[in-house]
Assembly symmetry: C2
Homo-oligomer: 407 residues x 2
């Protein structure tokens, strides 16, 4: 049994006309002899409508009840789409999380998938050619409905593809694939034919909002081939696969930007063992995710620690830092919400020296001051002033000639 998983987001299933277009997408693998799992999100706007109801009803809605509430969005879209398929003479049915045995942990609102009952899904294929599965939802250990968090339908699709050992997981979205840079910023940005999981993870976490990051982790863990493509064209998109020979030739896969950055500097912290734990422990406990962290070598027994957080967390982070003052005599706190991160990503970076130097040079050539630097094996990130972000992306994209196919 050849199986194809196809995921369609909220804008792809927004109304009847949209769903008719999705129907055409489903016909393609059907015509090629595939059995199909179509994973659907809630219709555009529906989840927000339901969340607004929850907010009207309760100042702090119970997370489990909130999940029971908002999971109805996917239930509605799958039932409607299955009706459409049946009317088109296709043997189809809707499948909810409890029917597919999509088990998660108990973290309502951001649950993680633990297992999927692939035998149950395969049994449904005895009588049906298309299973219209509700994305975003699962069942907790106590049998209650859980949801996977925003963008969770991507994860549902990849997880189902992994469980069924599907030939391919197609993620339909409103962009044509993964680009070397944001086409809105760089006119010469090129669509990547293929990208590997690690690069995609860096791209996704850097702000390329094509795929939900957990779905990429899932795809990587189970080696699920993912095809990111557009609902609105028939052109092939970007293939997300394991590293292969072809890829090794490509030095870099892209430049990404992340505007959701705010910087906090603790100047002249007393440099004692445990000082970092003393700073970042309380931030983690307050639920604040810290992104970049830089600590300079100590001088005269004090050091500067700089880190970045999401802009919405800046106020909360500053409040936490204030509490440290008593133990950090002489410390000065600076902050800046007008900063952005630009990153170069590429698996080829591992085997090539000089990439970093060339990147810094490209930014310097445009008189862009680098505020912080952070690197991993396959990426280089620089924090810069927000006003330079587009200029920086274009400068890096040009310097490495990412607009040209690298073979």
């Amino acid at each position: 049994m050849k199986i194809m998983v196809q995921k369609f987001g909220g804008t792809s299933v927004a109304d009847l006309a949209c769903m008719r277009r999705v129907l055409d997408k489903v016909r393609v693998p059907l015509g090629q002899g595939f059995k199909v799992v179509a994973v659907l999100s809630a219709r555009a706007g529906e989840t927000n409508r339901l969340l607004a109801l929850a907010d009207e009803w309760s100042p702090a809605p119970d997370p489990a009840e909130c999940d029971a509430l908002i999971s109805t969005g996917e239930q509605v879209s799958t039932a409607l789409f299955a009706m459409l398929l049946k009317d088109a003479g296709i043997k189809a049915r809707s499948v909810l999380a409890f029917q597919a045995g999509i088990l998660t942990n108990a973290e309502y609102g951001k649950a993680r998938i633990a297992s999927i009952d692939q035998a149950a899904l395969r049994a449904m294929f005895q009588e049906h050619d298309v299973l219209v599965a509700a994305g975003f939802q699962g069942v907790s250990p106590s049998g209650r409905i859980s949801t996977l968090g925003r963008g969770g339908s991507d994860t549902s699709a990849v997880a189902i593809a992994a469980a069924l050992k599907a030939e391919m997981c197609e993620i339909y979205t409103d962009v044509e694939g993964v680009f070397t840079a944001d086409p809105n910023i760089v006119s010469g940005a090129r669509k990547l034919e293929r990208i590997n999981y690690d690069e995609m993870l860096e791209m996704a976490s850097m702000g390329a909002k094509v795929l939900e990051i957990r779905s990429v982790e899932f795809a990587r863990k189970y080696s699920v081939p993912v095809h990111v493509r557009s609902t609105f064209t028939d052109a092939p998109g970007t293939l997300l696969i394991k590293e292969d020979k072809k890829m090794e030739n490509a030095l870099l896969s892209g430049v990404t930007q992340d505007k959701d950055q705010a910087r906090i500097t603790l100047r002249a912290c007393p440099d004692r063992p445990g000082v970092s734990a003393g700073i970042f422990g309380p931030l983690a406990e307050a639920g604040i995710t810290v992104d970049m962290i830089v600590q300079n070598p100590s001088r005269d027994g004090v050091t500067d620690v700089t880190f970045t957080v999401s802009r919405k967390d800046l106020k909360k982070a500053l409040a936490e830092v204030e509490k440290l003052r008593a133990r950090m005599e002489g410390m000065e706190v600076l902050h800046d919400a007008g900063v952005c991160k630009v990153s170069l990503v590429g698996v080829g970076m591992r085997n090539h020296s000089g990439i970093a130097a060339k990147a810094f040079e490209a930014l310097a050539g445009e008189n862009i001051n680098i505020l912080m630097i952070s690197t991993s094996e396959i990426k280089i990130s620089c924090l810069i002033e927000e006003k330079y972000i587009e200029l920086a992306v274009r400068a890096l994209h040009d310097a490495f000639e990412l607009g040209h196919v690298q073979r």
Copy 2:
């Protein structure tokens, strides 16, 4: 463990203000040491909104998908109400059909409950004081969501009460209970303190739209005490119980009317064996429910057969009858959509003669012509011209002094 089941309809849970009133109703048995199952319908208008979506999507929506779609209405109301209870400090959770193991047959859209996993519900009471159960829904033998048909939440509530051997099943509605006649027609109509299952069955099927008829059948089968009462007052309503000593004294419980009647007369049918089957077989196959049937003794080898159907089915029924003409030479077909049924119901009728005569006399006293008569052990129904219906109801109500308490 003392258990109280309370059912709240769509108008009772329409919005936040309504649900706050329902919260007060739930507090009463809680304060008396009961564990409570609150069975909720979808918020008023919601089921119709979802059905309209189905109609937009498909000319003949697949019944199973339609059930998956419309069952979200109850899922939304239970999640919202559970939020409200939790915010009020009450240990509560929502419970969907698949979580309560409410198994039905596979007749989507009008499924019948086969069993309920009472152990699962009792286990939930370990940690919760109120279970907010979704009415109207079940799970079919193949694990798909089914719905019980309009008014099905009444049946859900009574079935859950039966499964849990609850002390009582309270059905909250927008009327104060069951009356001896429609108070809109008879100003002296009296609220019945109690009524037995058989009488209620006759009352319900005659058009007293207080309780869904299948819920009464369920209550009768499992001897579930049901209390029909108003969401808008604290006054006791009508107790639906097994026949008891007190009841035997009451001769009659009420007068009901049913305006949804249309009459068809087949005059001068050839009277041969199998003629009735030849008439009513095709009608049943066409999905037409026939209510009253009267056949006069044959004369000169022909007979008159008269029956009534729902007005919406009149056209379809006449078309079926036309097909019989070939085999029924000389038959004349008459019909009349301007007829109504008035009925006297009462378990005391069994042991008293003269009730029928007195009823006919009361109608004759108002010059009301009786078109058809049909009787059972505990009811007498007369078909009359529609224009006389209110007059007939008042005449019967007065003749038997139903406005006075009978002890």
